[in-house]
Symmetry: C2
């Protein structure tokens, strides 16, 4: 495994590997997993997927300052380079790109990649500027690594929708591959930020995955249920946890992230087998967790 | 010469040529000249440069709607596909990319590349949104063609500054190569829009290059001259033409396009051999022409 600290290094490592491995069919396909480090089994699942599908597997670890708001947790975002490199080695990563902030932003940055529409709700609404920072840094990383495929976790579902739209709109020749959310055995979605939770917060945080699960079972089985009812039930369930403070609970079409027609509710989407996302962001103390479930809707027989 | 109407075609033509020509040193280097067509000798000079420096020479012709304002000349922008293809053939172009608007913008576009700072003055001030449209379409074209080098005319000096900043900020692995302004024998800078000028407007439009030339000679030879004086003289010279209506006359640092220090004038820039641009945009009837001169400043001996 090679470790690159500079853009020039990562480019030359990847070029060498492409040349060495160009004789096999998938040998010179570059798979890329961009992360902010503090890697957990969610990231490991992305790296395994990249290892399976690409001849060259590249991981980047960069806590990107421009995607954090002024009152967010940039300064205390958890880091653990040594453990990250061990995990990367274990998952067969070929090249780790570990740039400094000065390497990524050497001069006053004047260029921003902005995606509208899909950024208006959910985290886009509660974290202004966040997705500009994400789209801009991912554009940079894509231009540096030049991957054929890039793997992202579905926990950041809005991020996947934003990047897919960006790649389509700007004709980037890169396949965005969303991968399933990885959860603890008790249901908590893995997140680098889980490390901030107290034991009690950790216990109460289970309400997120539990309420999503209950809601999706209800949507799958109850033809009469409405989006409003689902949202009300999820909200009530979370509010029963005294430590939870809701940032948002929302139910939107996926991947366009548009509100459902109020009159129509699920009806047309069931008929057309459209997809929805039920997504939430909830604070426990100063730790903000997100979780979601994406479902393809189907007709429900009225009498089961 | 191959002509591609779709993104898939242009990618496959370039990939074939890269494979065929990979045995020579410069053979698989892709040079790119993006244009809006109605090609003249200014474009031809870019294509010749691309032919000299790159093994594969790609031209795009696309009148990009998103860089025109609502009251600008998109609908009447001149076109002449047949003549353009002849000129391209003559200049040894390998691949012409001639996409439709639907090919470039197949769905509702939500992604914009924005460059601030260098876009605040000159055409950026008088054509709001113009450089967002330019940066966005050039990003798309770069992602489609994947050139190693891209050639742009210095007549659009602010465009060159914007694209250079975009390429640096987003780590695009592409060299931006600015090429000198090409002029008619009488000094008029070549432009596709010159075709709109009446005989009388055409004659009066010579005031642009003439006043730039006078100003640059004065800056080169007169240690006491100030930016204010230069701007006043250029403005007065243009105002003497009854058909000319000034949009802007401005004198800025290059390539950062920042105003000069009012107190200091040219002094520090002369000492450090800094560069300036004297740029103007002037309307003759409904035709808006731009021209500029970029100079590296030098000390002037006080007594010559």
């Amino acid at each position: 495994m090679r470790i690159a600290k500079t853009i020039a290094e990562v480019r030359s490592f990847i070029a060498e590997l492409r040349a060495e491995r160009s004789d096999t069919a998938s040998g010179s396909i570059v798979g890329f997993v961009p992360t902010m480090g503090y890697l957990h089994e969610g990231h490991a699942s992305l790296l395994r997927r990249s290892r399976q599908e690409s001849g060259i597997s590249v991981l980047s670890i960069f806590v990107n300052p421009i995607q954090f708001g002024p009152n967010e947790d940039l300064d205390r975002y958890p880091r653990s380079e040594e453990a990250d490199l061990k995990l990367a080695e274990r998952e067969g990563v070929d090249v780790v790109f570990l740039p400094s902030v000065a390497e990524m932003y050497p001069e006053e940055r004047r260029t921003t990649v902005t995606v509208t529409g899909v950024t208006e709700r959910l985290c886009g609404a509660s974290r202004p500027g966040h997705f500009d920072g994400v789209a801009t840094v991912v554009s940079k990383l894509f231009n540096i690594v030049k991957p054929d495929q890039a793997f992202f976790g579905a926990k950041d579902a809005q991020q996947v929708a934003v990047l897919q739209k960006m790649v389509n709109d700007l004709n980037m020749d890169i396949e965005i591959i969303p991968c399933p959310i990885i959860r603890e055995e008790d249901g908590l979605a893995l997140s680098s930020r889980n490390v901030y939770l107290s034991e009690e917060q950790r216990r109460e945080a289970l309400v997120l995955s539990r309420s999503l699960r209950t809601a999706s079972l209800r949507i799958e089985s109850d033809a009469a249920v409405t989006p409003e009812l689902i949202m009300a039930e999820v909200t009530t369930a979370i509010q029963e946890s005294p430590l939870a403070e809701i940032d948002y609970v929302d139910l939107l079409t996926f991947p366009n992230l548009e509100p459902l027609d109020e009159q129509d509710g699920f009806t047309k989407l069931r008929a057309s087998e459209g997809s929805i996302i039920l997504a939430l962001a909830v604070k426990f103390g100063s730790t903000r967790l997100i979780d979601n479930t994406i479902m393809k809707l189907k007709e429900v027989p009225l009498h089961v």
